[in-house]
């Protein structure tokens, strides 16, 4: 949809939009600075017909030290979906709440608070447990949280398992001496 790009270009006069990308004819993405994002979203909702908040979610880019929030908005009349990205500092992740724009946003924000530790000041029931209860670790969706190791440590795994690597097994039985390890002297 060409007018989605046009629309973003129009908005670009009042907002600093970057990374505008059209994934499909009915789906585009753009990135807005944190300070402008909620104003942009409000205007998209009120003036541009993006009345449906599809979801709000977050992507963890641990390597770059950022979180990228995605506000997915949909315009029913234009049949167009727009994803607005907002980068947050991973170490001080805080974002303006949009629970006043969409009722269900409070739930999304509550989930993000629990799963990523992002704060949305003013959002209702923000610090209540959502999915977890009595959670005593770092937020589980963070990339540095190793769920398998945690599960093994806390919930244990049943005894009686153990696997053998085929090529290692064949080596042990068929050519055990063909290995450099015991004689690795020189270089």
């Amino acid at each position: 949809m060409a007018n989605a790009i046009q629309l973003l270009a129009d908005f670009g006069r009042n907002f600093t939009l970057s990374d505008i990308r059209e994934q499909r004819v009915d789906l585009a993405f753009c990135k807005a600075p944190k300070e402008q994002a909620v104003r942009l979203i409000r205007e998209l909702r009120d003036d541009a017909g993006y009345t449906h908040l599809v979801f709000l979610t977050n992507t963890d880019y641990i390597e770059q030290g950022i979180f990228t929030l995605t506000y997915m908005l949909h315009n029913y009349d234009a049949r167009h979906t727009l994803g607005v990205h907002v980068d947050l500092d991973r170490n001080a992740a805080e974002m303006e709440s949009i629970h006043n724009l969409w009722a269900q946003a409070a739930t999304y924000q509550r989930e993000l608070r629990e799963m990523y530790g992002i704060r949305f000041p003013g959002s209702p029931r923000l610090d209540e447990d959502f999915c977890l209860e009595g959670w005593d670790q770092i937020p589980p969706m963070l990339k540095e949280f190793d769920t398998a190791a945690f599960s093994l440590e806390r919930f244990h795994s049943r005894e009686g398992r153990g696997s053998v690597d085929p090529s290692e097994h064949m080596k042990t039985l068929l050519y055990p001496t063909h290995s450099d390890e015991p004689s690795s002297g020189g270089s």
Binding site: S163, P166, S167, H169, G185, G186
Partner: protein
């Protein structure tokens, strides 16, 4: 509220007269559907490659040794053991199974009070559903693996026969990645590779485009990577699990793909060139793949290595026996040059026994590695073989490699079915001759590589199987020669060996050629070893029988290569050299009991 709304619900009574929905005997009468994903079954085709384990997202599969199951080439002897406290019956293991041995039955009931009981090894443990004939199997038109090999660009038969340009052109980067992508990384091939190269690992480096890491991996087990990337007998590919349903991975070509992408100048930088001298010296007799491999690994460990070679150049059979359209000289040099650059001393034109006594070497060095190869062509030993137009295959190849014209003429008969015979035939084609290849057995018995046979045929050589040369006569033209051959009948070998040809005297043929090239086999020459050591060195027929680590009873002497193994190919010689290097290092550091 309407009257209709009051009465309408009583319609429910109508159903009282219908046949009840209830299943009378649900447990007994409802087997799983023919395609039901029930409990696992495994057939004898399983080779324990562990691909099922790799794909299982629940870590429900362990590969475990099974008692009474021997591991052999291409079978790890392991079998999948299932944890039914993990399995979700997605059947990805069935879809990915390389041999299609794994499938699911339509049995679905397992109830017990013991949570530790839900383990079993499919196919070997007696389970109640082992006889079920229904259940999920992969559809023939559904694949999670790529079964077709990426074919390598090659010269057409017309182009290739026109000269000595390399026939196989190598993979492009994109082709190499596509081919490497097919590998399931099971590692079954590693045991079959004589050098036990880290095949899945270096294939992964091709996929990732990290050729430098690939080169380092190759050199851990094989310093002739460029050579082997071209002319290896690739036994690994014969056991490749991808071969069960499609083409095996082109392991050899992928090795070449790595080497082709690393220029020789970068070898020393990538592989390193620092050697920490340890003050000991080792002599290597023969600069073929076995000798140079030993030299490389010994040098890496700090030994001062001297290689004694009868010929003027290194490479042995790789140089003098393999024509350049299969292995260009510069590729062999690429391998050799790096080995030499580490400081290996080369003594060319030095034949042990003739130019330097064996005992002197034994005295001068702390250990010796002997890999002189098989360089004595077997004679035909049929009447008339001394005819001047009867040439030896090795001589022809040697001449061509040294730039001489062997003078084969316009019509050539090659006798034999090994790689030397094929090469002699293809070289003769390139020199402009019509070529017949006479072979005593059937084409499928030929010891030559299948692609050599295929290519020689494509290039126009005529294969005449089951033809036993019986006599060579003078032809009417003194520049020609006539061969008499009889048809052979194949008889089974009582002791289980390959079928043997028996001459049928009543079916004889006569044909005249410009020359006959004999390439029926080769023997070794080790008369330079003094008789006094005879008792300590085991020798059977025409080969050494080395002990552990290629060591002989003469503790300082290690042997390898064609003259010490039955496989007689480059990669086996390379491993012999590497293994002997391990042995020598252990021996000289006192870790090996002489």
């Amino acid at each position: 509220m309407s009257l209709k709304d009051l009465i309408s619900p009583f319609y429910v009574w109508q159903r009282a007269f219908e046949k009840p929905y209830t299943q009378k005997r649900p447990i007994e009468d409802r087997p799983g559907a023919p395609r039901y994903r029930g409990f696992h079954m495994n057939s004898e085709e399983c080779i324990g490659c562990g691909t099922c384990e790799s794909i299982c997202q629940n870590h429900a599969i362990d590969m475990v040794p099974v008692e009474g199951l021997e591991q052999r080439a291409g079978d790890s002897g392991l079998r999948p053991r299932f944890d039914y406290g993990r399995c979700c019956w997605c059947a990805l293991c069935v879809d990915i199974c390389t041999t299609r041995s794994l499938h699911l039955s339509n049995h679905y009931a397992w109830v017990t009070e013991d949570p530790d009981a839900f383990h079993f090894t499919a196919g070997t443990d007696a389970m109640p559903w082992n006889q079920n004939s229904l259940g999920y199997r992969r559809d023939d038109d559904y694949h999670l693996l790529v079964h077709d090999r990426v074919e390598m660009q090659a010269l057409s038969a017309e182009e290739s026969v026109a000269g000595f340009d390399e026939v196989m052109r190598g993979y492009t980067e994109e082709e190499a990645v596509l081919e490497a992508d097919r590998c399931v990384e099971c590692g079954i091939c590693v045991a079959t590779c004589p050098a036990h190269m880290a095949i899945p690992d270096y294939i992964r480096t091709v996929r990732k485009g990290d050729y430098e890491a690939g080169l380092r991996l190759l050199y851990e087990t094989n310093p002739f990577s460029s050579t082997c990337g071209r002319i290896c007998t690739h036994r690994c590919e014969t056991v490749c699990v991808m071969g069960y349903q499609g083409d095996p991975i082109a392991i050899r070509w992928l090795k070449r793909a790595i080497v082709d992408r690393v220029p020789q100048e970068k070898y020393r930088e990538i592989l390193g060139d620092e050697v920490e001298e340890n003050g000991k010296t080792v002599g290597v007799i023969g600069a073929g793949p076995g000798g140079m491999s030993a030299a490389y690994y010994l040098r890496r460990q700090g030994y001062a290595v001297t290689v004694y070679e009868a010929q003027a150049r290194a490479g042995g059979m790789l140089r003098y026996g393999v024509p350049s359209y299969r292995l260009p000289d510069n590729q062999l040099d690429k391998d050799l040059e790096y080995i030499r650059s580490l400081g290996v001393e080369m003594r060319f034109n030095t034949q042990v026994g003739r130019d330097i006594p064996f005992t002197q070497l034994l005295d001068e060095h702390d250990a010796l590695f002997l890999a002189v190869g098989l360089n004595q062509p077997s004679a035909l030993r049929i009447a008339g073989e001394e005819h001047p137009r009867v040439l030896s295959g090795l001589r022809v190849l040697d001449d061509v490699a040294s730039g001489k014209d062997p003078g084969v003429g316009k019509r050539v008969a090659v006798i034999g079915g090994g790689n030397v015979a094929m090469d002699a035939a293809r070289v003769s084609r390139r020199l402009g001759a019509e070529v017949d290849v006479l072979y005593r057995r059937r084409i499928e018995d030929m010891p030559a590589d299948p692609e050599e046979i295929r290519e020689s045929q494509a290039e126009g050589c005529t294969l005449v199987p089951q033809a036993i040369p019986v006599e060579i006569r003078n032809a009417s033209d003194s520049n020609q020669v006539t061969i008499v051959w009889g048809e052979a009948e194949m008889v089974a070998d009582d002791k289980g060996g390959r079928p043997r040809p028996v001459l049928q005297e009543d079916r004889m043929h006569e044909e005249t050629y410009d020359c006959i090239i004999a390439a029926i086999g080769q023997g070794g020459q080790i008369d330079f070893i003094p008789a006094e050591f005879r008792d300590r060195i085991e020798f059977k027929w025409n080969k050494f029988v080395p002990g552990d680590y290629q060591q002989t009873g003469l503790e300082k002497l290690f042997v390898g290569g064609d003259i010490a193994n039955s496989r007689a190919d480059a990669i086996s010689a390379i491993e012999d050299g590497h293994h002997a290097a391990r042995g020598i290092h252990r021996f000289l550091s006192g870790a090996l009991d002489g």
